[in-house]
Symmetry: C2
């Protein structure tokens, strides 16, 4: 991908922008403040810039007059570089965010797709694979049964002699064989000491083999459809879709869901609600990808222990009752249709194995997905979902814990919180002079709400600009219309209603801030206790992998500013986005990753935090921005002090 | 069991009767004719005898006057010996059947239960077995999942470490463990390289493990419920039940059933009809045995290839189309409930494997059941069902064939034919002087119809008494009211309507006789072709095992008289009744018999008779009583000649 160097004037900040980035994107990444209230949607018309040198792709927006256009004025959100540029940010829309002085800084973001290298060394070996076979037609001399005829041929090809077939396959076998004039495609899976025949199709269908992979979160269900026949440098994802978990109407967190299951019919309702959500996602994936549903051979999902129990209709009650025993941590392969899923009768479901009641299959999938279980490096894996789960270790040892962080980073408990989807504010910068925000939304749509990464940006900016104090309270003495007393106390107006999709001001309240602080404190405390439980300190951690549905990006520096992440060199961090989904992608790529998941789920040692006094102490200590222990965040404090020196 | 010697006067025929036999039973077995029109029901009052010496258990019947009773007159059907007896058959009800002159002849019948020795050397090892386990309760230090807790304990006991569990079990596991305070009974089955946990019950339930075994015939479905925890010298059968196959309404034979399946919804209707029949039998078995349904762990059935396909809902079409290929000959273990069976969700179905389209699982079960696949002796196994199936061989080799015998011996195509149940005439003797019949019915009920063994008795008696010629036609010149011209031609009145349950005369017609002759000719021809196909003759056969639902008994000598069985020494014959059911009983006794069935189903060589000219020739030659080739039945012919010398 081409890069173009953009020099922002008057600050002379230089940034290498990716081809396709807008100038607004580049400015945000470079830390150059440009006024932008509509999330990059071009409706506010505030992000005017002037192209001094070089050329941009842009059309004239009505908010730019013909005369200004000819002078080189453009909307930053509507302009893309097609050469190196010198760009002037006019006085009305600029102020240089001078917090981060170091020019040419590394990008603090990593995309999931950058992790394609994780699978490069492996051979594709999907758990369900297809073979095209031409069978000899039966004759009076050779009139063995259809199944034996197929097995005889498979035995020749695969040099194995133990085969079984699902009843479902036997039911359609006679017709399929004859309709296809004995030229068929068989779907097989390895099963104990032999192969299981799970589907038979007419003709050549080897190049139509798709998997659906899902991360089933308490709040969000995300899915992808994977082409299992076309591996290049990465796993070939044809489409993505996600939705809120339909169980939310029965409760926000796993405990309230489990409580609901105690009612008559509760478990069945809960299972159906999840099934409906998954069906919606399947339907979107099929539509977006144009894949024939009959070509989907399996569905792999990872979820926390409660979600996995609810998917299968297993009684989750003892997950919430001491001593917190799930029914099982390994799950049988089962037929998707049996769970009300709208897939053909041959489609199997594989669930990622769990470790304990509160360290689930999503974490195991994430650990496999990010490769820490195959690495020498001591790695801390943090999955910021509705519960925060943490894994520490490397290929030789793994310990894990769960801390009830709550769903703040997924938008739960936040007045205008939302998950990372179109219209979510995912990047936010505040002008330290006039407290005006610069926001970028997902999909560059008018803002609807704030997702996890937007919250991290927002709180750190509020702190850096001095709007917020380290207790998470707004300064009461600010004379600015952006900070006001609302219905639930003081709040900061992130976007005014005229610039939002929801015809309401989008605000961040002190209640929201308290929820975020509670979540980040629990995560930080959990990490600290886990690391120290084996005699290490944060500085011994060679790599920190962050997973979670905050948004497409997470600004690690800002995550450190609010004290969510320990203050370690930024190059030690990797953000993998949805780690659980990443793992399920790997499972679809090779069954060896499924075996690896089984094996590590058994060897992971669970540390119970809910009864740990040390965890409680650390939690209280971390309930401050960034932390009550100044020595833990010296760099952040330096930045705060520097900032406070500004006018 | 005690035996009492009965001397019948005036013939001086001596017979050792079993304790419990009536004098009528003993007379029938001894070949002593006593008039009896009501099947042993005591309603006709004709079977008067006079006790000369010894003592009988009897009550006075109204048809015997007080004076006669005091003189020693009794009804034979109502009297049982309690010492050795001398009995006079009065002139009005006696004539000595002097066909079989050799006194003290061996009983020509063998009961299934006499074959208990077949399993004596084997150790019980049912495919589904139970273990009682006391699990340690979970604690904060030991809070592994419920499934892992169970597996850990099972691993200790069974010294195996691969366990899987059905989803169904996982669903109830948490509750069952806690309700039973961690004292549970587990049902296990061996599965590939490990054990599968199929059920978990509260408390000690090791002594409640039952199997349902079924023979699913085209015409009749027969079942037993077996106690798997209580093996003495024999398999412990708690109850038996049988019924017509509900599919009969769609057609009498497999071909018409398969034709029906081509209609829309036909296969589903057919499957449901069979399911309903099986449910009826299960319900009877549960009721008769008093077993808790929840304690039934599995159901094993054997049926011909079409019935097995229809049970599982597999497309049977190619069974009837050349080159006659079934979908499969081995069937997956499946859950009974999935086929609409009214059993708990943990109950598995195991189907006996088949050999080819027309040699089914019933034959394989029969071969295992009668032990021929474990014997050195060259054995001919004849299963007289709706199709006649024949197997020849020993433990080293087995060949088999199917000949379309038709359902005559099961009562099909016979005007008053019925299966072997209460009220069926199963023994019949004809007074050669006045052509009056002496009949015994199953259950000593008033006659309703004639079952297979009654047909064999009847035809041989008609032949011996000269009422019938060797073409199967009634002699036209007999001046007797028993032989008359009825609606469908000439017929013999077996029971007059005043003595029947159905208020109609029960007759044997020439059409009936033609059907029986066709069936016996096909069976005989099939046996001959099979035996000669490997260069043997009947005289090389060391043992002939006869299976089928004719009735409780088959009189082998009479079966030879009509030419159904080859004329070999009687001691070479064994009648095992329902061989298929016998096999399924063994399967429930030890999974090694199931393995044996799998293995022999693969090694049996199928000989196709339907296209064999030799078979057609032999069939035509055998369509005569006993056979067109006099040399094949020298003994029978000698008897016929001797008989014809009688007045």
């Amino acid at each position: 991908m081409n890069k173009y160097r953009i020099t922002f004037l008057p600050s002379e900040r230089i940034f290498d922008a990716h081809e396709g980035d807008t100038i607004l994107d580049a400015a945000m990444k470079a830390g150059v403040y440009i006024n932008a209230s509509c999330g990059g949607n071009s409706s506010c018309g505030k992000c005017r810039i002037k192209v001094i040198q070089g050329s941009v792709i842009s059309t004239r927006h009505p908010k730019i007059s013909k005369a200004d256009y000819d002078k080189g004025y453009r909307l930053a959100c509507r302009s893309r570089p097609e050469s190196n540029l010198v760009v002037e940010v006019p006085i009305e829309s600029q102020i240089d965010g001078s917090i981060l002085k170091d020019n040419g800084r590394k990008p603090l973001i990593l995309l999931v797709s950058d992790l394609g290298m994780l699978i490069k060394q492996r051979k594709a070996d999907p758990p369900f694979f297809k073979l095209y076979i031409e069978l000899p037609e039966p004759t009076a001399e050779d009139n063995i049964s259809d199944f034996e005829r197929l097995v005889r041929e498979l035995g020749r090809i695969l040099k194995k002699h133990i085969f079984s077939a699902d009843l479902n396959v036997l039911k359609s076998m006679a017709r399929t064989f004859r309709e296809s004039i004995w030229k068929i495609t068989v779907t097989l899976t390895l099963c104990n000491n032999g192969f299981r025949i799970v589907n038979v199709e007419t003709g050549k269908k080897m190049l139509e083999n798709y998997a659906i992979v899902l991360d089933i979160g308490t709040t969000t269900v995300s899915g992808q459809i994977i082409d299992l026949t076309n591996y290049g440098h990465d796993i070939c994802t044809l489409a993505e879709a996600s939705d809120y978990n339909g169980q939310i109407r029965f409760g926000d967190d796993v405990i309230s869901r489990i409580m609901y299951c105690r009612k008559t019919g509760g478990l069945a309702n809960m299972q159906k609600a999840l099934g409906d959500t998954v069906n919606g996602i399947i339907s979107q994936l099929v539509k977006k990808s144009g894949v024939r549903k009959a070509s989907i051979s399996h569905l792999i999902f990872a979820g926390n222990t409660t979600m996995t129990h609810l998917f299968f209709g297993l009684d989750p009650e003892n997950i919430m009752l001491a001593p917190y025993t799930p029914v099982t941590n390994v799950y049988p392969h089962a037929i998707a249709k049996d769970f009300g899923l709208d897939l053909e009768g041959h489609v199997y479901v594989i669930a990622s194995p769990c470790v304990s009641s509160y360290v689930g299959g999503d974490v195991v999938a994430g650990v496999v997905g990010c490769g820490m279980s195959r690495s020498e490096k001591v790695t801390l894996y943090i999955d910021v979902g509705t519960n925060g789960e943490i894994v520490l270790g490397n290929k030789d040892w793994l310990i894990c814990a769960s801390c009830s962080a709550g769903p703040a980073f997924e938008g739960g408990g936040i007045q205008f919180g939302m998950r990372a989807e179109t219209g979510a504010i995912e990047q936010l910068k505040i002008n330290p002079v006039n407290y005006e925000p610069m926001i970028i939304t997902i999909g560059k749509a008018k803002p609807k709400g704030i997702c996890g990464s937007g919250l991290i940006d927002g709180i750190s900016e509020l702190l850096l600009t001095g709007i917020l104090d380290q207790n998470g309270k707004f300064k009461r003495d600010l004379d600015d219309s952006r900070v006001r007393e609302g219905e639930s106390g003081f709040e900061y107006v992130v976007a005014s209603k005229e610039n939002t999709q929801i015809c309401k001001d989008i605000v961040l309240t002190e209640v929201d801030l308290a929820n975020v602080i509670r979540a980040k404190a629990a995560l930080y405390a959990g990490c600290k206790v886990l690391v120290e439980s084996i005699g290490l300190t944060f500085h011994d951690i060679e790599r920190v992998i962050i997973a979670g549905g905050f948004g497409h990006y997470i600004d690690l520096e800002k995550a450190q500013i609010i004290g969510l992440l320990p203050e370690l060199p930024l190059e030690r961090f990797i953000f993998v986005g949805n780690g659980s989904l990443l793992g399920t992608r790997l499972f679809s790529f090779s069954r060896r990753f499924i075996d690896e998941a089984q094996s590590i789920s058994k060897k992971m040692t669970n540390v119970e935090l809910s009864t740990s006094q040390k965890f409680m102490d650390e939690f209280v200590a971390a309930s401050f921005l960034p932390h009550t222990d100044d020595k833990a965040f010296p760099g952040v404090l330096k930045k705060l002090h520097r900032y406070k020196l500004l006018p």
